[in-house]
């Protein structure tokens, strides 16, 4: 497996902490979050395996291209539009959640439009880059920020304030039936691999996908999910945990570094996850943009030999996110994102079915 595929997977895994995933998992903590997480790890790893295998059949091609060649129009365009909506929403949720989080914990005086604008300004430059540059960007950000995240994790686990008794109490609730919304949220961490829909264009070699790779992905997913779920419980107790809006950020504020220049861990936490969230957002919106470009090809819209369509799309993205960050409340965002996570199984089904159809039709 190319190292970039791991980056896709790991980036989404890490970025789940600042999305609403922990919130939803903890919200469902008394209604079967633990079995849903176990189910999500097993099914998620399987999905990763299936998707990589299916993409192996169409090396060097992106899914929109294949769909347009091998399937009828009435099938290809709705599917593509649905996929676009999913990716765009995924990016939008990351963006809005992060902006809310930043406003709440970092700079309450700054206007929300200002913070959002800083984001979309850089992102809109970013999503217009070449697809190949995205991969290198993902790699460099991982190299720069993941050591920081590991340092934070060590801090989280080594701190005596982490009370394992709380975690043991939460374990008592393992005997419930899995909850659907917790399952959807947990499944989110395996979504990263689906970025192949566009990036498959850059991979011409077959991916080696054996037991070793599956174990790495499954195990990492397990560790990430359980950290996501149990660390806030360990710090804050089991009873009131579902009331937190940002469980992880609140947790990170309970740790101090006695000898550091920066005393409160929360600042390092927010800034290092800013990098991760940024790249995850970048990847999602880049894929969304590319799919949208494949649906609407305005060949006439040209200026000095440059296609104008992508720029128009990006401006639409920017306007939507600027409006939504102003309009939405924290609660609406939570509801909105839980709907999105609950739709993930449908998303995976649609993706896999269309891949299978492409494979059949192309007789590969």
């Amino acid at each position: 497996m190319s190292r970039f595929l791991y980056y896709f997977i790991f980036l989404t895994m890490f970025s789940n902490i600042i999305a609403s995933v922990p919130k939803i998992l903890l919200f469902e903590s008394k209604k079967g979050a633990i079995p849903s997480m176990i189910a999500a790890v097993i099914i998620g790893t399987l999905l990763v395996y299936i998707i990589v295998k299916l993409f192996d059949a169409i090396p060097g091609k992106s899914l929109p291209e294949m769909l347009k060649i091998h399937t009828p129009k009435w099938f290809a365009y709705p599917v593509l539009f649905y996929l676009f909506l999913c990716w765009f929403t995924a990016g939008l949720i990351t963006l809005i959640t992060y902006v809310f989080l930043f406003i709440t914990f970092f700079s309450p005086e700054t206007s929300i439009v200002n913070t959002t604008f800083a984001f979309v300004l850089v992102i809109s430059f970013g999503v217009l880059m070449k697809s190949r540059s995205m991969l290198y960007m993902a790699e460099i950000v991982i190299v720069l920020f993941v050591p920081l995240i590991f340092f934070l994790l060590i801090k989280f686990f080594a701190n005596p304030k982490l009370d394992w008794d709380f975690i043991e109490i939460s374990m008592m609730h393992a005997n419930h039936l899995p909850s659907y919304s917790a399952f959807g949220a947990a499944l989110y961490i395996f979504v990263g691999i689906t970025n192949l829909v566009i990036f498959n264009k850059l991979f011409t070699k077959k991916h080696k996908m054996g037991w070793k790779q599956l174990l790495i992905i499954g195990f990492t997913g397990m560790v990430v999910l359980f950290t996501t779920y149990f660390v806030p419980i360990g710090y804050n107790g089991f009873e009131q945990i579902e009331d937190f809006t940002f469980p992880w950020v609140s947790t990170s504020d309970s740790i101090r570094m006695k000898y550091g220049l920066i005393e409160r861990v929360i600042f390092i936490f927010i800034l290092s996850f800013l990098g991760i969230a940024f790249v995850s957002l970048l990847l999602h919106w880049h894929v969304a943009l590319k799919i949208l470009e494949s649906i609407f090809e305005f060949k006439r819209l040209k200026w000095k030999g440059k296609m104008l369509a992508p720029y128009i799309f990006v401006i639409i993205f920017v306007v939507i996110s600027l409006v939504l960050t102003r309009k939405l409340t924290q609660y609406q965002l939570f509801v909105f994102s839980s709907y999105f996570y609950e739709s993930l199984p449908i998303f995976f089904t649609v993706l896999i079915i269309s891949l299978v159809i492409v494979k059949r039709r192309a007789k590969l």
């Binding site: 930043f102 970092f106 700079s107 700054t110 200002n114 913070t115 604008f117 800083a118 984001f119 300004l121 850089v122 430059f125 970013g126 880059m129 070449k130 190949r132 540059s133 290198y136 960007m137 790699e139 460099i140 950000v141 190299v143 550091g260 220049l261 920066i262 005393e263 409160r264 600042f267 800034l271 800013l274 990098g275 940024f278």
Partner: protein, 454 residues
Amino acid sequence: MTNIKEKPDPPKLMDELKSQMDPSFDVMLIPLQLEAEAAFLLYLKTTVDGDKLQNVIIKPFFEMQSAQHYRAYIQSSPDIIEIKSDEKILLELTKGSVLIAVQHQFFLVDVKKVNSSSVQQTLMEPTVYGPQQALSEDILTNLNIIRHRYKEPSLKIEILELKDKTHSDIAIIYDDQTVKPAILKTIRKRIKELDVPLIQSAGELQLYLNGKKFTLFPTLMLTERPDRICYNLDAGKVILMVDGSPHALIAPVVFFDFMVSMEDNYHLFWITSFTLILRYFGLITCLVLPALYVAIISYNPDIFRTELALTVAGSRIGVPYPSFIEVLFMLIFMELLTEASIRLPKAISATATTVGGLILGTAATEAALTSNIMIIIVSAVAISSFVIPINEMSFSIRFCRYILLAFTTFFGTVGFILGFLGILMFLINKESFGEPYLKMYWKSRRSEKGVKSE
């Protein structure tokens, strides 16, 4: 053979050429005559080497038995140039050739005088160990230096002539076994497509080869070190040289190339690693420190531990304006100081730095126009920007600093991180002759040798 003409007529072509170049004072049309045998020389006195002309061209004429012998002698001269057209002859004459007419035949022989062939000391990239000699301003001398250092038969040198008014030669040098053909093709194409009136140095050529009008980061590297040239030849890169310029261009380059000093190859492993880390630390410091100051002072003073935050705030007591003006003010003065000390004659530049650095710095803090900490930051930034081994990169980073500062001023701490990521993204999206400018090179032994990998 008695009726020798007093003064033989020069061939028609020579007359024509001479009239085309008149009224320059230095056009010389000299007849050589011994008994019945005659030859004619046409040259520009200011471009040819007088001694060489006397010894190689004129003297043998009188020592030879006949004009036929002399013709054979000239024909076998190693400096002979093929005559392609009349315009070509004129051009060659201006470059320092002599046109010889013997027995109704014309020969062009190169006897140019080069005053700039002395090899210079390294100025831009000095090293403590390593070779101390740089290149000269004469292309042949430079090629000699390269050949002397890189004795591989696969080393290929192509000479192209510029179409501008200098008609300088451009040498394309590469190792046939390691170079990527696609890159070589692009470079040849870009040089042939050049359409500019005057190119006088490698730096100028770099500007035109970039392919874009507005560029911030260099996509070709300018160097004066023969050892860096050989090192890059070995890595499969293409070297360009312009006649009359003591620098060579290296293409394609990646970001990490600009962080390598040749000294790194001549030291022990840990020492090299240490200096390399130091250099990257300097790079980050000089890029982010001013913006970080603004972000922390104006937006998030609570990031620091309390004691530190109080110290920083305390040092700003009495400063009458927001932090970004303070930073901008000090940075601009620092840039002015740097610029002044580069351009001034050496005798005055010491005064400039003393007056600017010491007196201005102290006075500005005493007048409470800036905080003490700002002075520390400005000097740290100034010093660390000199740590970057290649000057051009240091200039680009200096420029980026202001972009980051502006972004932080407008958007605060989030703008600071996003601006940093944005600069990173800009670099990653950049290409140098089809090679990605910034990416991780895991597989190659050294970052600089990364051109051939995937």
